[in-house]
């Protein structure tokens, strides 16, 4: 058996009213890539905060052993010095400083006057970057790098601290395919050089590709023992995560296609930074009752811009016409769209979907406040009753409707956003990346809900970057590339290769 570098034993962490970690046990071997998986709110982040000294002893109970030595960190600095590094989902870097300064922040080599020895700094940075086989000039400003390269700088920073245990928290959420591949190569090299890795992710395919072993957390407790990745199927992992069988990840139901509800003709949105370019370029499509229309495409293909245009976000800058049940309608603002029965669940729920420091009730009833007020006064009783109903129907886990939404996990926050738009009783529901960043269990719940809505006569339009999701849930698929609609595919004609071909702008032979 390989030597254990880290062992966490019986870790308990309580927050007021909830036990976030309940006797968590796991061990990490030298040179191992261990995937830590679990639904949002399962306790992964809390566990890593305990490990990295964000929560010092004795705010938690239990023991952490590093090389069989009991350690108790008072702060993150001590954990860093002991060789524990974390690559956060949101990078912790300063975009206006050079790459080298970011790597050696606060640890720059100084001359005797306290000035920075620049050449030595750059040289040291080059050495660290070389360990990652990264061809990045340490002199350039960090902000000029792509997100993927910035992440490499963050990894380099961790390596420069002699990190022996490196935690990746959802590292691929902002990366492109090729950047993900590059990242995996680096992670494998790190393992080869003896660094042990804890890899947190929602994406099962990634875990299958990169991890040696898996530990599942559910409701703050480890479920079963650590398992080697080759001795387990993805379905088994998912079952452990959600505590129930998920036979079908995409519970797609087909209904009778009904009347044409929404039709858009020749929608264009000019690019504010480039007059020769268009964010959305002459897109037309129709959506029908009883179907889910999927919109696929790569990042920056103009999908979000297209649905925003329909929702009135661009005001008068939008070109083209919008028809509801064959009637031309005039949408100049989101308020107009809502009045016409169109709802948009935005992609960025934290910045565009929710009032984070407000309670669930207020968030849910915001687009429909007219329904919950007489001429002047709000009917607090009515809005509360409706909010409670949707909390119940959407299975939102919260102690009360008065909880601030920032306290909820990602999946539950997403359900609040969806609930907020369901309360408007809109005929057309547009979902922009409805399952991004939420866990498998919550995803399936969202899919089931989409089925119910379609059955109830709502026209559902879904943007998704995940091909399995688009193919699994849509009746028809529009593919976009560089602002243009490049294909419209029936469910039966859509496979990954075809969609990708159109998404990359390649018209192909067909």
């Amino acid at each position: 058996m390989a030597e254990e570098i880290l062992e966490m034993k019986n870790i308990i962490k309580d927050f007021p009213g909830v036990r976030a970690l309940d006797h968590v046990n796991f061990a990490l071997e030298k040179g191992e890539i261990l995937a830590l998986v679990g639904e949002n709110g399962a306790g992964k982040s809390t566990l890593m905060k305990v490990l990295s000294g964000v929560w010092p002893y004795p705010t938690y109970e239990g023991d952490i052993y590093l090389d069989d030595q009991l350690v108790r960190f008072d702060n993150t600095r001590e954990a860093e010095e002991a060789g524990i590094g974390i690559i956060h989902q949101e990078l912790n870097l300063l975009p206006d400083l050079s790459v080298a300064e970011n790597i050696f922040l606060d640890r720059q080599p100084l001359n005797k006057f306290g000035g920075i020895k620049w050449e030595e700094l750059y040289h040291n940075a080059e050495k660290v970057l070389a360990r990652l086989n990264m061809n990045i000039d340490p002199r350039i400003e960090l902000g000029d790098l792509t997100v993927g390269k910035q992440q490499m700088v963050e990894i380099a920073k961790a390596l420069s601290l002699d990190t022996r245990i490196l935690v990746f928290d959802e590292p691929t959420s902002a990366l492109t395919e090729s950047e993900i591949n590059e990242l995996f190569i680096v992670i494998n090299e790190l393992r080869a050089s003896g660094v042990s890795i804890i890899y947190i992710s929602h994406k099962m395919e990634e875990i299958e590709e990169i991890a040696d072993s898996v530990v599942v957390l559910r409701d703050g407790a480890t479920i079963g023992d650590k398992i080697q990745i080759d001795q387990v199927t993805l379905d088994e992992i998912i079952t452990r995560m959600v505590g129930r069988d998920i036979n079908d990840l995409f519970p797609k139901k087909e209904f009778q296609k009904g009347e044409k509800t929404l039709e858009v003709k020749n929608i264009s949105i000019p690019d504010p930074f480039n007059p020769d370019k268009k964010l959305v370029d002459d897109v037309s499509f129709a959506a029908y009752k009883g179907e889910i229309l999927g919109i696929s495409g790569l990042m920056g293909a103009g999908r979000t811009e297209l649905v925003n245009a329909i929702f009135g976000v661009y005001g008068k800058k939008r070109e083209g016409d919008i028809y509801l049940k064959e009637q031309k309608i005039n949408i100049k603002s989101p308020a107009d769209a809502i009045d016409n029965g169109i709802a948009l669940v935005t992609e960025d729920r934290k910045e565009l979907g929710l009032l984070l420091d407000k309670d669930i009730v207020m968030n849910m009833t915001l687009p429909s406040i007219k329904k919950f007020s007489s001429k002047f006064a709000m009917d607090n009783h009515a809005e509360r009753t409706v909010a409670e109903k949707y909390i119940d129907e959407l299975n939102i886990k919260t102690p009360s409707p008065d909880v601030f939404v920032e306290k909820l996990s990602g999946g539950n926050q997403q359900k609040v956003v969806i609930g907020k738009w369901l309360i408007t009783d809109s005929d057309i529901l547009i979902l922009d990346e409805p399952t991004r960043g939420i866990d498998v269990g919550a995803k399936t719940e969202v899919y089931r809900l989409m089925n119910q809505l379609v059955e109830a006569g709502v026209t559902v339009i879904m943007i998704s970057s995940e091909l399995p999701e688009i193919m699994g849930m849509s009746d028809r698929i529009i593919v976009m590339s560089e602002g243009k609609k490049t294909a419209e595919l029936e469910r039966s004609e859509a496979d990954q290769e075809t969609i990708m071909k159109y998404a990359t702008g390649n018209k192909g032979v067909e």
Partner: protein, 370 residues
């Protein structure tokens, strides 16, 4: 208990301040002094109610002091020109307060300019207008009945009846909330309810002692009370109030949820403009005339009251009740230091420190809860 102190810090600070002053200066607690104190608070307090809404939207209105000055001048000159009292007041409220407020709100919301800039401009423009209209000298009020608005009293017996009705209504409201809490329809901790009842009872006793013990409720105080109640009701209960909290919380989210940002923002600045004009009219009435420099620096007291009262400068969080306590604290400090014979130059310094202290406490509290 610790939480109780933290949540009601300003209120406790006010009580401590009152206790200290009542020992330091025997005349502080006299009915006459307290009546005067409250009347002084009203001028700033009426503006501060509007300012609460502005800051709730993460905005600022620097023009309120100049609007006070211009309104005082306008109402005086209109009466000199032979207009009746009520017509002069109406024209001033709408023509000065309403129009300036509309301009402030519309310009900043429509063209997405920070209200700091717009209202800074208007601040100078309105002050310049007052100077132009008066040629730089004070103008006297010619209509003697006009003085009643700012200096008159509601007689003792009606005052007593009003106070008792307010007490009964207040306790009734608390009682209703406590039933809702028991039914589980509202989660509101008991401490808050207790504070509410304490506030109502203290308010009643203080009101009884100061007003009935002197000459009755001053008319400006009655006007202030109405403004406060209307403001608190607007923010807590109305659709408009809900929209303000939403916009202050996250303007983009509010807009995407169908809220008309332009209309709400403009409305808030109009309200603030009209309230500032009302304050200016009261001041002119009290002083029996207007000088073009009236209201100079009032924006600072109004902003300070709002901030001391716990409204967040970042927007989205704040209450009118808090602002009233903030305004009273500033009034007590001004009044107390005058009683103690502290030079008004030093008063400014002390006030500045208190504002910084209030914000510091707020920031530290927030950090702890985050």
């Amino acid at each position: 208990m610790k939480k109780f102190i933290k949540n009601n810090g300003t209120f406790i600070a006010l009580i401590v301040l009152v206790i200290i002053l009542s020992f330091a200066s025997p005349s502080f607690l006299s009915s006459r002094n307290l009546t005067n104190l409250v009347r002084q608070v009203t001028i700033n307090g009426i503006i501060a109610v509007g300012m609460t809404m502005v800051i709730l939207l993460a905005g600022i209105d620097l023009s309120v002091g100049s609007v006070v000055g211009l309104s005082a001048v306008a109402v005086t000159l209109l009466m000199q020109a032979g207009l009746g009292i009520w017509l002069a007041i109406l024209i001033t409220l709408v023509g000065v307060g309403g129009v300036i407020g509309f301009f402030n709100g519309f310009m900043s919301a429509k063209f997405d300019i920070h209200p700091f800039i717009i209202t800074l401009g208007i601040m100078t423009i309105a002050r310049g207008l007052s100077l132009v209209l008066t040629q730089g000298v004070s103008v006297p009020v010619t209509n003697m009945t006009f003085a009643v608005i700012g200096s008159g009293y509601i007689p003792k017996l009606p005052s007593l009846i009003i106070l008792v009705i307010a007490l009964i209504l207040g306790i009734f409201a608390m009682f209703k909330t406590s039933i809702e809490v028991r039914k589980g329809e509202k989660v509101r901790n008991k401490a808050k309810l207790t504070v509410g009842i304490i506030l109502i009872v203290i308010g009643f006793i203080a009101g009884f002692y100061s007003f009935i013990g002197y000459q009755g409720i001053p008319i400006p105080v009655a006007i202030f009370a109405v403004v406060v109640m209307a403001g608190a009701y607007t923010l807590r209960k109305t659709r408009f109030g809900r929209k303000l909290y939403a916009i202050g919380g996250n303007e983009e989210v509010a807009w995407l949820s169908g809220i008309n940002i332009l209309r709400s923002k403009t409305m808030v600045f109009v309200i603030t403009g009209v309230l500032s004009a009302a304050s200016g009219i009261l001041l002119a009435s009290r002083l029996n005339g207007a000088s073009p420099n009236l209201g100079d620096g009032f924006e600072l007291d109004a902003i300070a009251s709002v901030i001391i009262g716990g409204t967040s400068f970042m927007g989205g969080v704040g209450t009118v009740t808090g602002t009233v306590i903030g305004a009273i604290i500033i009034g007590v400090i001004n009044n107390g230091m005058s009683l103690l014979g502290i030079n008004s130059f030093y008063q400014m310094i002390v006030k500045g420190f208190i504002i910084i202290l209030a914000v510091m406490i707020d920031v530290l509290n927030r950090k702890e809860t985050a």
